[in-house]
């Protein structure tokens, strides 16, 4: 005996070592393959959602901390350029009156005491101006804005209004002249530098009011300009939603995308964009006829091993039952909507439009039990079939979009919570699935602060 002869014999014997249990072997393999997909959200979905939430929360807190800084500085550092809390006429002599301005002590805001001087009264000068001043001096909502009464010692006021408190110890910062001009002499510490605000104090009341009126007018103009522009803004969004159809279990899905918003009129915005989303649908035993027919049609081709007659048998009779179906579509969505802002504040909108889809991947899985009466006495064998396709199909206006957006300012940008409903208008994908969905979009709008 030579080694070659033995090796040749072994080769020939084991070249096609078929123990006739290939069917059983395949069933064993199917327990491991294909691997069952994880029901957890894919990591990139989670990453996208987490990144958006972090961005939103970060910007929100960033905005909050900025405000805190302003309040803090206003509350701790007496400013020479802060507006006077009260202008107090110390005495009125002939045509000349002397006026005191309390420097703002934002950390105390002591109320002036009553005195016997009945000649002077507080006069609330131009509420809007005061508010504007208050805002622009960053006194905030602390006491300063509550008692920002300006006392002007002109004679008309002095004769008709009750007097206010005069504190003789308060420093003189302005003197009124007979022509009611206020000469502001802002008292500052040596190391403090004069600022724009302190210069303003040198203006007369009339001039001051004019200046403030102009400032208000400018502010209003800026606001109106801001409302007019930008005409185009961008949104990035992540969406979490449920797909559902008929009585089947709703499936959680997610998507991300980008939108462009074009302002058409004051209250109307046209929005379009692109996004990627995953849509899932599942049927348990109530598979629609069109889907099951599609499955049987694909099974009936000549290469189908499951329906192929078993070797040695003259015929093969099979029965298929307990069919369940899962569909997964990873799609590129192209939404087009019109947003209507009913309120002047533009803090919410109602939108409606259509969505079209093209498909990056489509995956359809059929699970069923097949009984072959030619073998195993018709014992039911669990079967699973999967069909996949890539970059295939486009469905125009396959769903409508109805949504409501709630705007939340985040710095100069806007965070939008947008609950939406997308009823199916037509079928999606190769299997003509009618998938509706409902969920919420979290959108982040860049440079789109339209709030007044």
């Amino acid at each position: 005996m030579s080694d070659e002869e033995l090796a040749h014999q072994i080769k020939s014997v084991f070249e096609d070592y078929d123990d006739g249990l290939g069917e059983q072997g395949w069933s064993e393999l199917r327990k491991k393959y294909p691997e069952k997909e994880s029901k957890k959200l894919p990591i990139w979905w989670l990453t996208g959602i987490a990144a958006t939430l972090l961005l939103a929360v970060g910007l929100y807190f960033s905005n909050t901390f900025d405000t805190d800084k302003v309040i803090l500085s206003a509350g701790t550092t007496p400013k020479a350029n802060a507006l006077p809390e009260k202008i107090i006429s110390d005495e009125v002599k002939g045509g000349t009156s002397q006026t005191r301005l309390d420097t703002v002590k934002t950390n105390t805001y002591a109320m002036p005491e009553k005195s016997g001087n009945e000649n002077i009264e507080p006069a609330k000068v131009a509420n809007t101006a005061q508010k504007y001043i208050a805002q622009h001096n960053a006194i905030g909502d602390v006491n300063g804005t509550q008692e920002l009464d300006v006392v002007v010692s002109n004679s008309e006021v002095a004769q008709t209004k009750p007097l206010t408190v005069i504190d003789k110890n308060t420093p003189i910062v302005a003197v009124t002249k007979p022509d009611d001009k206020v000469t502001a002499n802002a008292i500052m510490t040596k190391d403090e530098q004069p600022t724009e605000k302190s210069v303003k104090l040198k203006l007369s009341t009339e001039e001051f009011l004019k200046e403030e009126s102009k400032a208000l007018a400018n502010h209003a103009n800026k606001d109106s300009k801001k409302n007019g522009a930008p005409t185009t803004t961008l949104d990035v969004f992540t969406g979490t939603f449920f797909n559902y159809h008929d009585d089947n279990e709703a499936k959680l899905s997610a998507g991300v995308g980008l939108n462009a918003n074009i302002k058409v009129t004051k209250n109307l915005v046209f929005s379009f964009g692109a996004g990627i989303s995953q849509n899932k649908v599942s049927y348990e035993n109530n598979v629609p006829a069109e889907i099951s027919q599609a499955m049987f049609a694909s099974k009936s081709d000549g290469t189908n091993a499951m329906n192929a007659p078993v070797t040695g048998l003259a015929y093969s009779v099979t029965a298929t039952n307990d069919v369940s179906f899962n569909g997964q579509l990873l799609s590129i969505d192209l939404p087009m909507v019109v947003k209507f802002f009913p309120s002047k504040k533009q803090d919410f909108y109602i939108s409606t439009g259509i969505n079209s889809s093209s498909y990056i991947t489509q995956k359809y899985t059929y699970n069923y039990n097949q009984s072959n009466f030619g073998i195993r006495n018709g014992e039911a064998q669990p079967k699973r079939e999967t069909e996949k396709s890539n970059l295939k199909g486009f469905d125009f206006a396959n769903s409508a979009i109805i949504s409501v957006g709630i705007n939340q300012n985040v710095g100069k940008n806007i965070l939008i919570f947008e609950p939406y409903y997308k009823p199916a208008l037509s079928a999606m994908g190769d299997k003509n699935l009618r998938i509706s969905s409902a969920g919420i979009n979290l959108k982040f709008n860049f440079n789109g602060n339209n709030k007044k």
Binding site: M1, L6, I10, F14, E15, G25, W26, L29, K32, P34
Partner: protein
Amino acid sequence: MPDNQSLVELIASCKKGDLRQQELLYKQFYGYALGICIRYLSNRDDALEAANDSFIKVFKSINSFNEENDFKPWFRKVLVNTSLDYKRKSMRFSEAIELTDTIPQSTHTSAIDKLSAQDILALMKNLNEMQRTVFNLYEIDGYAHKEIASMLNIPESSSRTYLTRAKQALQQLLITHSIYTK
């Protein structure tokens, strides 16, 4: 076995992830796969598991296979490597049947021709794991000692030694076998 053209078409379908075509490929190469795995592994269940794992590897990586090449040698490599992965845990390099000094004796070719798969498996079970593996790799699957040394992480000289001892053992076993089957 499918002819070359239909095999190319079958592989092309498997590349698309068509489960029905994968099942067809499985059933057509089931015997081939099991025949290789069972030579390396001691029982059918282990061989089937290794064969199935090999098929799964093939299904997952079939896109990297070029249809212009022959499928069987590529698949054989997958089967052998998977079988060796199963064996590695149980392999003991120190394991070696101490063979008594044997003088090669001639056995009739007719006796070899009559060896069935079960006979061969029964004979091989008498070899230790390393001898059996080296014999299979060198004599049946055509690997060189250098490749075997690398695959089994042993010196090349050890591979030669294991092969020699495997052959001696088989000679002895075949003589015994032929005596009993006469």
